[in-house]
Symmetry: C2
Subunit: 196 residues, 2 copies
């Protein structure tokens, strides 16, 4: 299957020989790649329109050898002021951030920027659907944590609470995201449970 | 008033001496600046959360003299596959593109990319609110054109129809966006009329 953006479907790239081992087939794929493949599938199947935002870059110098081939020769990465992914599902606004950790026992809150938490609060105030996807890459598990829960953990953390969220807490209060070949991080099933 | 991102409000920058001449006070501001100022106001007033997406850039080379100061030394502009602005208003997904023309009699359709029209179709299918803002900079007028209308004009154009939308047509079938000092492109008033 070819997706609208010309990328090949991830499932196809992995090949059929891995069908017998779901765990293994997820190995080595980054969370970002898996989410992009999932979003491509959602888009092609007309289930949702969700995209990753481009990396914010401060452009300083551009050379124009021809107008059609402008080269950026000096630019810097900017701190994102919002989350990475947003879009629409059944009329509702969807907005989330995705983070991966190699840590097996907890998720360090330093992975989240204060601006992003402020953004999540604003989104929730506007009745948007806000959440965080956390992948424990060593455990090959990806969890859905609601924006509300993340915000309350963040507030506790600011008032001298824990600097990280224990894995056991996420396992209990988050929701494990099912894995499918074409919907590698099928977060819409969780949204359906929580919001529809 | 200082907005969350540290930029000064546009109205403040313009100063009070221009109050008596609304037309003049808008001169020289780009549509993008006006929309950003409007979105800053909406965000600060907790009316809506709408941001411009970063310019999509293909990063080729990065130097890391120190980790904290990575310099991008080769990158290229990419064609945007979606629209420039999106976000949430009263739970609904908002998605739009904004274009400015110096032409006084029509809006050339070549300003819109086929990918963007496809994106608008997908957004409408998901029950999102999709539209195009067109500014006639010489006339100092900004119009709201619904995604549905743009798509039908685009389809006509592909089938050998006009290459541009006449100003008179936009004046009749679009909606003129009111100008306020803090809400320089107050498109939410139009969304309220059309969707709430």
């Amino acid at each position: 299957m070819n997706y609208p953006n010309g990328r090949k479907g991830t499932a196809q790239v992995l090949g059929k020989q891995e069908d017998s081992n779901q765990k293994f087939s997820n190995r080595g794929m980054t969370l970002e790649n898996d989410i992009n493949a999932t979003n491509d599938y959602y888009l092609a199947a007309e289930l949702a329109v969700i995209h990753k935002k481009p990396t914010p870059v401060q452009i300083v110098k551009v050379n124009y050898p021809k107008r059609s081939a402008a080269v950026i020769t000096e630019a810097y990465f900017k701190q994102p002021s919002t989350t990475d992914y947003n879009g629409v599902y059944r009329g509702r606004y969807i907005d989330f951030e995705a983070k991966e950790t190699k840590n097996k026992t907890s998720f360090p809150l330093k992975n989240i920027h204060p601006h992003q938490v402020e953004h999540m609060k604003s989104v929730i105030r506007q009745n948007g659907i806000s959440f965080l996807l956390i992948r424990f890459s060593q455990l090959e598990e990806t969890y859905y944590v609601t924006g509300d829960l993340l915000i309350s953990l963040w507030e506790e953390h600011l008032q001298g609470g824990k600097k990280s969220i224990p894995y056991s807490f996420i396992k209990e209060h988050g929701r494990l995201i099912p894995f499918h070949y074409q919907k590698r991080v099928d977060y819409l099933t969780i949204i359906d449970q929580l919001h529809f």
